[in-house]
Point group: C2
Chain length 190, copies 2
DNA sequence: CCATCTATGTCAGTTACTGTCATCAATGTA
DNA sequence: TACATTGATGACAGTAACTGACATAGATGG
C-alpha cells in the first residue's frame, strides 16, 4: 500500500459533490472538502483550478468524444447531422444519471456555477465549429451548426434530467431535434 | 460643495477601465481602483458587487430598452422582427464606440470576464423570451426568437467593434440579419 | 437648532487561491 | 545493499477579494 490512500482526485470530487449538495456551494469551504477527502486544502487546489472546476471534470471527456465522432463521420453526412450523431454517442459513455441530477441541482442554485457552465458550452461550441471546418465545412455554416448542436445538447440534457419525455439519452436528443425541426425545418433537415 | 467629490460611481468605473486596460484585469486590485478614484476599497464594493461587474453596468440599461421596445411593438409584427427592431434601437442610446472597443479588448483577454459576459447574455435572452411570452408568443418560438436575437446582437456587436462592414450600429445589425437569412431563410424572414 | 439621513471611512475578519520548501515512500540503478 | 531521483503530498506564509459592524460628518427637513 502506498503512503497515502489512492485516488485523491476522485475522493475530492465526491466530497465536493456531497458538501455542495448538503449545504450549498458558497457555504462549503475548500478546507472542508479537503478534510472530508482526507487531504489538505493545498492538495485540493493541485487537482482543481478552483472550487467550481470540480463540477466540470466531465466536460473534457465529453468534448473529446464529440470531436472524435465528428472527425470520423462519413463524408456524405450533413454537418448538423454529424454534430447530432456525436451528441447521441456521448450519453451512455459519459453520464451517470443520479450524479447528473445532483450536479444539475447544485449548478441551478448558484450563478457563479452557471457562469462556468456557460463558458464550458461556449468552449465546446468553438471546438465543434473548428472540427467542422477541418472537415471542410465553411463558415458561417460551421459556427451555426456548432451553436445549434450545443443548443440541442443543452435542451436535450435538461429533458433527460427531468425525465420528460424519457430518461433515455438518445431519445431525449432525438425528441429535441424533432422539436427544433418543427420551428426551423429547412435549417435542420433537408 | 459636498463633503466629497461628486459621482464616485462614475469615477470608479473610469478608473477601473483605465487600470484594466493598462495592466490587465487580474493585475489590478480593487484597492488600486479605489485609490485612483479617490475613495476607499470598501466604497468600491458598495457600488459594484465584484471586480467584474464594473464592466457590465450598461447591461441593465440595454435590457430595459430592449424589453420596452418589445412591449411597445405593433401587434402585427413577427416576434423575431420585434427583437431585431429593439436591437437596432439600442445602439445609439447606449454605446460609446471608443469605450466599447477598450472594454471588448479587456474582456477578450480574460476568461473570468467572458464568463460574466455569457451570463449577462443568458439573462438577457431569458428576459426577451419572457417579454415575448407576455405578448402572447408561445414557446418554443419565444425562446428561439430570443436566442436568435441575442446571437444577432453578439455578432452584430462584434462587427461594429471591428468596423467591418461598417461602424454604424444599425447597419451592423442589419448586415448580421442578412447573413443569418442566407443560412436559415425560412426561420428568420417570411 | 436639533434629529435624522446618507455616503463614506475604518477596521477586523473570512476564505479563495498561490508560491515555496520540506518530506518520504516508491522506483530505478550501480 | 546503498544511493540518487521522482512524485505526490504536507506545512506554512502570503495576497487579495470580498463582508459585516460600527463610527463620522455634511446635508436635509421640521
Amino acid at each position: 500500500m502506498g503512503r497515502w490512500l489512492p485516488d485523491a482526485h476522485g475522493r475530492l470530487a465526491s466530497a465536493a459533490l456531497e458538501l455542495y449538495s448538503e449545504r450549498g456551494f458558497e457555504q462549503t469551504t475548500a478546507l472542508e472538502i479537503a478534510e472530508r477527502a482526507g487531504v489538505t486544502e493545498r492538495t485540493f487546489f493541485r487537482y482543481f483550478a478552483d472550487k467550481r472546476e470540480v463540477l466540470f471534470q466531465g466536460s473534457q471527456e465529453l468534448q473529446r468524444i464529440i470531436l472524435e465522432t465528428i472527425a470520423d463521420a462519413p463524408d456524405d453526412m450533413r454537418p448538423i447531422d454529424m454534430v447530432v450523431a456525436s451528441l447521441e454517442k456521448v450519453g451512455a459513455q459519459v453520464f451517470d444519471r443520479t450524479h447528473s441530477i445532483r450536479r444539475a441541482a447544485i449548478i441551478a442554485a448558484n450563478p457563479a456555477l452557471q457562469e462556468r457552465e456557460l463558458l464550458k458550452f461556449s468552449t465546446l461550441s468553438a471546438a465543434i465549429a473548428e472540427a467542422l471546418r477541418e472537415r471542410g465545412v465553411p463558415d458561417p455554416s460551421a459556427t451555426l451548426a456548432a451553436e445549434t448542436g450545443v443548443t440541442i445538447f443543452k435542451i436535450g440534457f435538461e429533458s433527460w434530467i427531468a425525465g420528460t419525455p424519457s430518461d433515455d439519452w438518445v431519445e431525449c436528443i432525438r425528441e429535441t431535434v424533432a422539436q427544433l425541426r418543427l420551428v426551423t425545418p429547412s435549417a435542420i433537415s433537408g
